[in-house]
Symmetry: C2
Subunit: 194 residues, 2 copies
């Protein structure tokens, strides 16, 4: 596997925006029941080794997991404030949960669990996200989960891009390139009007 | 019309993040042809007078306009870095273009055109967005459009919320509230688990 041609632009943007912790946050759109879009902020957790797939983590009890199982397409919108550029990354989503599916990806799921902070891991032991809030504060102070072994509701979420639309607002006038993946997993690139 | 109960939280977030110009940027998800989500950054331009509708501007030649005419639902994801809070705003989208539709909203469309900077207005005189880039730099240096009268491809985009999901990451542990609009245009609010 060779890196896709847009990988360099992402690496540069991450480097030039490294002073902002939230430069690693992006917004992922999916489709929910009733043909309505859903959109939420996620933390970019790097690329899956030897692939161009973006890694995220998610609680498999969250609504997005049902959405993805029904409609696997997603589009991430990633805006970098310091360099004033935007990447729109369209692709298919894969959820690697605690069941037997995607056995070849379980090691990646375990590795990312081990890399999380204690505070991030603790959230997966909190009560069911989106359910009515109970009164007991203790429910949000659970014993820390095992840092080596993911809890069953811990999910690795992968976005496998088929199109990347890169807009640089700082250009003269602005620059916009659309990268598209073909059937042979090769990539083309076209300059378009901003 | 009375302000929706989530309006105060948005006003506070805007105030507390006013040092960041990009705190007024949000990501709007729509659905494109082929049942795939689309997602892009837009600038929040305030609320339409005497309503709870969010205002944006768009070039009516852009792909989102076709998407909205097919599927009018959208979800905005708005992350505020300084206060570490997120609003997910679900609602229906209305495009007010240069044709005869929405005659009662034409004055709002003209007003927002007049409020834009010269640089922002000039972009609406650029070549067709998303088409292959030509070589002529002159196409991006058009004569300035009339600052009083919008060009035909200038659109006012309105998002009329039916649900607002507000997550505060700084809470102890975190706070999350979901506001929902009922058939009588009233709003309910429920505290849910983050």
């Amino acid at each position: 596997m060779s890196f896709a041609p847009w990988r360099g632009a992402i690496a540069r943007a991450l480097h030039r925006n490294r002073s902002l912790v939230y430069a690693r946050y992006l917004q992922l759109a999916t489709i929910r029941a009733g043909d309505r879009p859903a959109n939420r902020t996620l933390v970019f957790r790097g690329f899956l080794e030897d692939t161009n797939q973006l890694k995220f983590v998610t609680d498999t009890r969250s609504a997005k997991v049902d959405q993805i199982q029904q409609r696997s397409w997603g589009e991430a919108c990633w805006y970098f404030p310091n360099t004033r550029e935007q990447f729109r990354i369209t692709g298919s989503l894969t959820l690697v949960g605690g069941d037997e599916c995607y056995a070849d990806l379980q090691s990646a799921r375990v590795a990312i669990w081990q890399e999380l902070s204690d505070a991030a891991r603790l959230q997966f032991a909190w009560p069911h996200p989106g359910k009515p809030r109970g009164q007991e504060q203790a429910a949000f102070e659970p014993p820390p989960p095992n840092p080596n072994q993911p809890v069953p509701n811990f999910g690795l979420l992968l976005l496998d891009p088929t199109q990347v639309d890169h807009l640089e607002l700082r250009g003269e006038p602005q620059n916009r390139r659309i990268y598209q993946r073909d059937e042979n997993q090769g990539w083309s690139c076209e300059e378009v009007n901003p």
